[in-house]
Amino acid sequence: MEQIIQQLKEQLIEALNLEEIKPEDIDPDAPLFGDGLGLDSIDALEIILILEKNYGIRLENTAEAKPHFYSVRTLAQYIVSQQDK
């Protein structure tokens, strides 16, 4: 789990071009959207691509997947749960 969290942080920084943010700056439990990292709807689309490209996870229903996008940790948990399937 910790390894996926670390990997996800690096992928987020790269895909979203989060200049000046280092992986250790991202609190895995902080909200990704709104207050925390301040991501928006365009970033959500980029995260969907991270899941698909790197983890082979295809989101069919984005509305249902919304809770998994809360934080880096919930995303990592979602990835693990999908990989176990």
């Binding site: 928006d40 709807s41 365009i42 689309l45 969907i48 984005t62």
Partner: protein, 392 residues
């Protein structure tokens, strides 16, 4: 100073020319097809295509040289508009062309580029030469013999509405005596994939303002109005009495929850006309079918009109969302609606969105219309409303 609409030219999935377009709209038919046929793509999504391919369009127009589809569609519509307006009372140097496009000659560029990225010495240059937005405008002006001021606007999906707004300004200032104003956009792989990457394309026919709406269908086409100063014309279709462009200043792609930009555009268009919301008899809404757009536009309608929202409909289920051309196509449809005293129905609507509780016109109605609004909104928070009126 009053500005008159004296000519209309239109081409879209609903048909080529005014007559075909009206027949499609009056019969409540959709022009959408199940998948694009004029270019190769792996996305089998419904689109509003103009039926003839490039070769057929070029032959029809007697054009032999390499021309982008955007320019071909523009030429079809602009030359119809000029013919419809009749012989010019002034020389062609006093006629301007204000055209809008968002893709320009991308339909050619995207066929040039695969060769070019393999080897930068290859790729047919004549296909890269039409890339920029100005190219289609210059091609239209040349074909139609327009020798006056010529320019191109590009503000995403509100582009053509802005072209019409700017045209009225050129006339008021006496820069020219006649303006051909509107927009053109061809469907291409670039835009289809762009909107696909945004995940806002509905795999089924779009359902603007419906509770079940989940995206838009793209389309292609072109439409132009001929505008002149009203005191110099006889028997115009109608007057362009109001026009406004505002900015939502909320997000690069998403519209605000309070529909501020949409609301301001409609309100200011009414202000420029000196009319009140009660004077509006009909609205051709932007109504793309995306959850976000229709919610913002719906909220803006409620803010401006309260419980008295006039009859409204989106014609995008018929034509698809034609991007930079949409504001021109929908302005042309608004003018026809006003002129013939009829409201074209919105297809595919069944269930009102409980959040908005707005129900569009779903069947063809004949009734006199005094003033009609046409809304066009685009990326970058760009919001434009045009108001056409039967009486001054």
């Amino acid at each position: 100073m009053r500005i008159a609409v004296t000519g209309i030219g239109i081409v879209s999935a609903a048909g080529i020319g005014k007559e075909q377009t009206l027949a499609t709209l009056r019969a409540s038919r959709s022009g959408l097809v199940a998948a694009p046929s004029h270019f190769r793509t792996r996305h089998a999504l419904p689109v509003g295509e103009v039926a003839p391919n490039n070769e057929e369009l070029a032959r029809r127009l007697g054009i032999r040289h390499c021309t982008s589809r955007t320019a071909l569609l523009g030429i079809v519509a602009a030359s119809e508009a000029l013919a419809d307006a009749g012989a010019a009372t002034t020389d062609n140097r006093r006629t301007a062309l204000v055209s809008a496009t968002s893709v320009g000659g991308m339909d050619l560029t995207e066929n040039f580029f695969p060769d070019f990225i393999r080897d930068d010495r290859s790729g047919r240059l004549r296909m890269a030469a039409h890339h920029d937005c100005a190219d289609s405008t210059i091609a239209i002006a040349r074909y139609c013999g327009i020798d006056g001021f010529t320019t191109t606007l590009s503000t995403a999906c509100s582009s053509a509405a802005n072209a019409i707004l700017v045209a009225s300004r050129l006339l008021r200032h006496g820069v020219v005596d006649r303006v051909v104003a509107g927009g053109t956009d061809a469907l291409c792989r670039f835009t289809l994939n762009g909107f696909k990457s945004l995940q806002i394309l509905d795999p089924a026919p779009c359902r603007p303002f419906d509770a079940s709406r989940c995206g838009l269908n793209l389309g292609e086409g072109a439409a132009y109005l001929v505008l002149e100063r009203a005191d110099e014309t006889r028997n115009p279709y109608c007057l362009l009495t109001g026009a406004a462009n505002t900015n939502d200043a909320f997000h690069q792609t998403a519209s605000s929850a309070d529909g501020q930009g949409d609301y301001l555009a409609m309100r200011k268009a009414l202000e420029t006309a000196g009319l009140s919301p009660l004077d509006v008899d009909c609205i051709n809404v932007h109504g793309t079918g995306t959850p976000n757009n229709d919610r913002s536009e719906g909220v803006a309608l409620r803010r401006l009109f309260g419980n008295e929202v006039p009859p409204f409909a989106s014609t995008k289920p018929v034509t698809g969302h034609t991007l930079a051309a949409a504001g021109g196509i929908e302005a042309a449809l608004a003018v026809l609606s006003l002129h013939h005293g009829e409201i074209y129905p919105q297809l595919n609507f069944t269930t009102p969105d409980p959040e908005l509780n707005l129900v569009p016109v779903t069947r063809y109605i004949r009734r006199p219309i005094r003033n009609i609004l046409s809304n066009s909104f685009g990326f970058g928070g760009n919001c434009t409303a045009l108001l056409f009126s039967n009486r001054p």
